[in-house]
Assembly symmetry: C2
């Protein structure tokens, strides 16, 4: 990774308030290093001048990268292999100024951004969630994570927090996208939750270290939640919820929007019902969500053709161990399979995905079982 490019992107990330479509366009034309130099010297025209005028003198990319490192964070740029290029291509394709892609992303945690977002669903909703909504968000979070799907959300009180916790509860992957620096804990009551997410998944932000959670940043941030996932589920939303903005961003990006119904007597379900009436897919469980973001046909499209021979031939060691651990008829959950096979839980999940692609196992109400082979039927 070119140090100059990294410093240039860090500087631009500090200077421009997202979304900054003009600056993004300039960077695409002349590259980040030249763009940073021009911004620093004030050699830019409108709209870039307006996007960068106020903060262009704040030139402290080295200090920002050090502050990030001190917090266990790093800067991921479009020049990095882990940049989720495909996801952000949809931002460009949308051609909407408000949906300009980020100039770079500050990330904290052991996960690789592109891998985590390769199979991810956004689960979002109201801060003033009901106990029903929080329950459903946690169930969706754990159900999705248990199938190896990353749960993307905004770490807010209410639905967001419940979704993250659901994923963490099954030791599954989860990504929190913040409206402030990744070195801050916002909301403060979610300090422990954010620590846990940063310890296993990723905390992500386009705001540099120390960036404050200004009000308008929450709505701007929502486009990243929508865009980093293959689809967005709204669990609860009042009549004027920010979650509806996330849903609308997902729609603009050509991604499926789903909504969980609730009692028509609940103000917190009004937004969800409106979304369904406007065309969003009603979903009631994680299997329905997965079906919507990864239709059966797509799954099969990537599956290797079965050759003559035993269907388990050619499995890697963890997959073979997990397959052997499964009883002939009974279903078992991921945790049980890890204990029985001695394979770490993360590898068990990967193994199950591989086994499922081969048609050797199937998922059923949170557990896995062997599929009956054709000749046994």
């Amino acid at each position: 990774m070119n140090e100059q490019v990294l410093l240039a992107r860090a500087y631009l990330s500090r200077v421009a308030e997202p979304p900054a479509p003009g600056l993004v366009e300039l960077v695409a034309q002349v590259g980040p290093v030249e763009a940073a130099a021009r911004v620093l010297d004030g050699r830019v025209e409108e709209p870039v001048a307006a996007e960068t005028g106020v903060r262009r003198a704040v030139h402290r990319p080295g200090a920002d990268l050090e502050a990030a490192a001190a917090a266990g964070a790093r800067l991921v740029t479009p020049e990095h292999p882990e940049w989720p290029a495909e996801a952000f291509a949809a931002f460009d394709a949308a051609g909407i100024a408000q949906l300009a892609p980020p100039l770079a992303l500050w990330v904290r945690g052991p996960g690789r951004l592109d891998e985590l977002c390769g199979h991810a669903v956004a689960v979002v909703g109201a801060r003033a969630a009901t106990s029903y909504g929080a329950h459903v968000a946690a169930e969706l979070g754990s159900g999705l994570a248990d199938r190896g799907c990353t749960v993307v959300s905004g770490a807010a009180i209410g639905i967001d927090g419940a979704a993250h916790r659901g994923a963490l509860g099954v030791e599954g992957p989860t990504v929190a996208v913040l409206a402030c620096g990744v070195d801050r804990f916002y909301p403060a009551s979610h300090e422990l939750l954010l620590e846990r997410i940063a310890a296993s998944g990723l905390v992500v932000s386009e705001y540099p270290p120390g960036g404050v959670p200004a009000r308008h940043r929450f709505l701007v941030r929502n486009r990243l939640i929508a865009g980093l996932a293959a689809g967005t589920v709204v669990v609860e939303a009042g009549p004027r919820s920010g979650a509806q903005r996330t849903a609308s961003d997902a729609l603009s990006l050509g991604l499926p929007v789903m909504a969980v119904p609730g009692p028509v007597t609940s103000a917190m379900s009004v937004g969800c019902h409106r979304l369904v009436r406007d065309g969003a897919l009603l979903v009631t469980c994680s299997d329905e969500v997965l079906e919507a973001v990864a239709p059966i046909g797509e799954h099969l499209a990537g599956a290797p053709a079965l050759e003559a021979g035993r269907p388990t031939d050619g499995l890697d060691a963890p997959a073979a161990l997990v397959h052997d651990a499964l009883p002939a008829r009974a279903a078992r959950d991921t945790r049980w399979l890890a204990l029985e096979s001695g394979v770490p839980i993360g590898a068990v999940r990967a193994a199950l995905t591989a086994l499922e692609r081969r048609g050797l196992v199937e998922h059923c109400e949170g557990r896995w079982r062997r599929r009956v082979a054709e000749e046994e039927r």
Copy 2:
């Protein structure tokens, strides 16, 4: 009304177990009197022979008509002006044997069948309703009835009963379609409810007096609930609810199907959520139901063009009284308007519908108010 035709229809209604598509076809070809004579003599071929063979000797149309009259009921046939011919034309158009129209309908109550069904919505659902479902059904029942819309249902325990009660609670029109004779009270615990419906609306059945509520008759009966209404709302339904049959019949008849969402944690909402996922319209209140069965455009289509002059010119006396009773700015409910104007509540409702068509009043959260004229805006 030709006495011979009435006796023939009464006999055929006793002889054939609905749906009897063969017999309906024969009646269409040779008329009810000739069809009845042939059935009585056994001069019919398949499938009519099979449809009528078992009970063809039970020739007691006079006694059945007398039993009906003793219970305050009468037989309505396709030859009567009050036969809802348009509704049953959809049965023929569907071309599905299971959706054969009834040969005649036994009705009990003061209502006119065609008038009641001219602007009707079916509100149906599970017997094992939750308190949430019963609450929503009652709200829909009263909301629809308050706008002059007839609530059609099956008088069962649970959702059906709550919907009827909601309509009765605002002295609104409601029709109960039974799977047994209209002289029976089934379920027994709904004796009082059925008496109230028969006192103001209509209790309807295709089964002759004394007919027992055999299990299969409930599903067969559901096609009449669906067909007599302009659309069907399912409020709560388990995974295998009879309400889904009503919904499926409505679909086959080309009528809109609506479903009320509920908690995804409730077994009683599983059927509703499945309906929405399969294409039914999600509805949360009576206004959304009315919008679906009578789109704004259609309403306007029937509205008389406003001539020059005062917009209230040409109103009939009750409508003028109701219009005068409405305060300039505040909204009032139907009951208040009846008290204030001295117009009976049924006539108030008709007047409001006429006033609404002319754009003089509008409905707002269960109440009515004057519409601000263009020049006042």
